[in-house]
């Protein structure tokens, strides 16, 4: 059993005045204060692009020292965009094994450090540098060609796919930690600047900085927000070109299958998933079988995943699209958001009476996938 007893979130934004360590400190302090925990056994830092944007090796030790946690055990976890949930998985394993009883997990990354062209280049390294990223795929080359493939295979038009970012912006409006808190229409998505046709700037995440932290404990003595029942994962193909069915995220299918088998979980009330691009969100919904193949965009447009819809409420935070996506921190944000939903304390769009939740975090188009099943307590 692992319980979330504290969360700390920094609003995703361009924090030019704050270093990686400062952001990590602010999120950690908030998490420790909210859990009223005295001391932690381990600090696990999830960070990815910071190695390129504010270079520091052995980051976790330096973050620990800079926040006065001298002598604490520290580990840095780097799994690209999935680093945050991979860090939670590591923390849970330490607690389950008895090696730790209280762990601070903090995810942090900054995307505003450099001009966007340099950030795009660095983000392309999330993809395989020996195949896809050997070429100039930029920010969204692989997502763009998958989006075109999806539209052709399932005969889905571009406008139908634009309901996803519109929903994410709508959801983010009430989230004080979201970077983009304004509504957009689906039509506006099509008119936006092209990033990797057919996808536009409004199909992808804003370049912001952020940090999120969790206090995880093995014993639920006081102030528990939620329980993390299990975290599972799997690796996938290095390139979409190797997959016979690139419109299914194979690593996610395997990871989710493992999670269902281990926990016996059924349907969930709330989901926070990895919509790095519109097409990523759609493919995740279909890989999880929340809809039939080729039908997720239409279901989103019909409100199936909105509050009051038939499906689970998906990304009430606004998702990567509108909350933002500080690469290594994102999975930690997602777990914190679901924990707050299950405790009835999420400060944005609430999913009333939510008792169970799912977090989905993947790197690139599924080089690896991580999933977590969470439950309300009491």
């Amino acid at each position: 059993m692992v319980y979330v007893t504290g969360v700390g979130l920094v609003n995703v934004d361009r924090h030019y005045d704050k270093s990686t360590r400062r952001l990590a400190f602010e999120a950690s302090t908030a998490a420790l204060e909210s859990s009223m925990a005295e001391g932690v056994d381990f600090i696990i830092v999830a960070s990815s692009i910071s190695y390129l944007h504010e270079p520091q090796l052995d980051l976790a030790s330096y973050i620990a020292s800079s926040m006065g946690l001298r002598g604490v055990r520290s580990i840095t976890v780097e799994c690209g965009e999935a680093s945050g949930l991979a860090a939670v998985m590591t923390a849970k394993a330490l607690i389950d094994s008895g090696q730790a009883s209280r762990v601070l997990v903090v995810g942090v990354d900054k995307l505003s450090e450099y001009p966007s062209w340099r950030v795009y280049k660095n983000l392309s390294l999330l993809y395989d540098t020996e195949s896809d990223a050997f070429y100039s795929i930029g920010l969204g080359g692989i997502a763009g060609l998958l989006m075109r493939l999806y539209m052709n295979v399932y005969n889905v038009d571009r406008l139908t796919l634009a309901y996803w970012p519109a929903l994410m912006h709508q959801n983010a409006k009430a989230n004080p930690y979201a970077m983009l808190r304004f509504a957009i229409t689906p039509e506006k998505v099509l008119e936006a600047q092209p990033v990797a046709e057919p996808l536009t700037l409004l199909d992808t995440f804003p370049l912001g900085d952020g940090a999120a932290a969790l206090v995880l404990e093995g014993k639920a003595s006081r102030g528990v927000l939620a329980e993390i029942v299990d975290v599972e994962s799997a690796t996938g193909y290095q390139s979409i070109a190797l997959s016979d069915d690139p419109l299914k995220i194979e690593s996610l299918e395997v990871a989710y299958g493992r999670l269902v088998e281990r926990t016996g979980m059924g349907s969930v009330d709330v989901v926070e998933l990895h919509d790095s691009f519109t097409i990523t969100g759609i493919l995740i919904l279909e890989t999880l079988r929340f809809t039939e193949r080729g039908k997720a965009a239409e279901a989103v447009a019909q409100g199936v995943f909105s509050v009051g819809g038939e499906g689970p409420v998906v990304n009430p935070s606004g998702g990567l699209k509108a909350r933002g996506h500080p690469i290594g921190a994102t999975g930690v944000y997602q777990v914190a958001e679901v924990a707050l939903q299950l405790a009835g304390e999420f400060p944005g769009l609430k999913v009333d009476g939510a008792r169970s939740g799912l977090v989905v975090s993947i790197n690139a188009m599924g080089s690896s996938s991580y999933v977590a099943y969470m439950r309300a307590v009491g």
């Binding site: 001009p115 966007s116 062209w117 340099r118 795009y120 280049k121 392309s124 390294l125 540098t129 020996e130 195949s131 896809d132 990223a133 050997f134 070429y135 100039s136 795929i137 930029g138 920010l139 969204g140 080359g141 692989i142 997502a143 763009g144 060609l145 998958l146 989006m147 075109r148 493939l149 052709n152 600047q193 092209p194 990033v195 990797a196 046709e197 057919p198 996808l199 193909y237 290095q238 390139s239 979409i240 070109a241 190797l242 690139p246």
Partner: protein, 134 residues
């Protein structure tokens, strides 16, 4: 692409200059670029096979959000290409993005991939272009 040392460029020359793929002796499937084990069955019993140089475009994206060094040739077209026994992702050149169609026949051409701004190292490799009709 990221930073490449001259040793790294040299190591990858064979499959970058010719379309040499790995082929699994166990399950028979091919993969590009060659890996240490078969991505499908995990076997390490592999040999090499040269891929056909002509294939079909399964899908493509016109990338505007390119790194700085590619700005002068932006937008860059990135294609998913079916070569029969294997697929790969590669850049598609010598075409106006608006003239490209899914299903087009494309052929491999040898081109410059990148120039390292610090060292002047030039990286070459294979791109694809539409097959001219007639």
């Amino acid at each position: 692409m990221g930073e490449w040392s001259s040793a790294r460029v040299w190591r990858s020359r064979v499959y970058r200059y010719r379309l040499i793929a790995g082929r699994c002796r166990s399950c028979g499937r091919a993969h590009y670029p060659p890996a240490n084990a078969c991505p499908y069955c995990g076997s390490r019993d592999l040999d090499e096979v040269e891929l056909p140089r002509v294939g079909r475009l399964i899908s493509y994206s016109v990338v505007y959000a390119t790194p700085f060094e590619d700005r002068d040739r932006s937008p860059v077209v990135i294609g998913l290409i079916d070569l029969g026994i294997a697929r790969l992702v590669a850049e598609v050149v010598d075409v106006k993005p608006g003239d490209l169609r899914v299903g087009d026949r494309v052929e491999a051409v040898f081109r410059r991939i990148a120039v390292d701004g610090n060292t002047g190292l030039i990286v070459y490799g294979i791109k694809f272009r539409p097959v001219r009709v007639g």
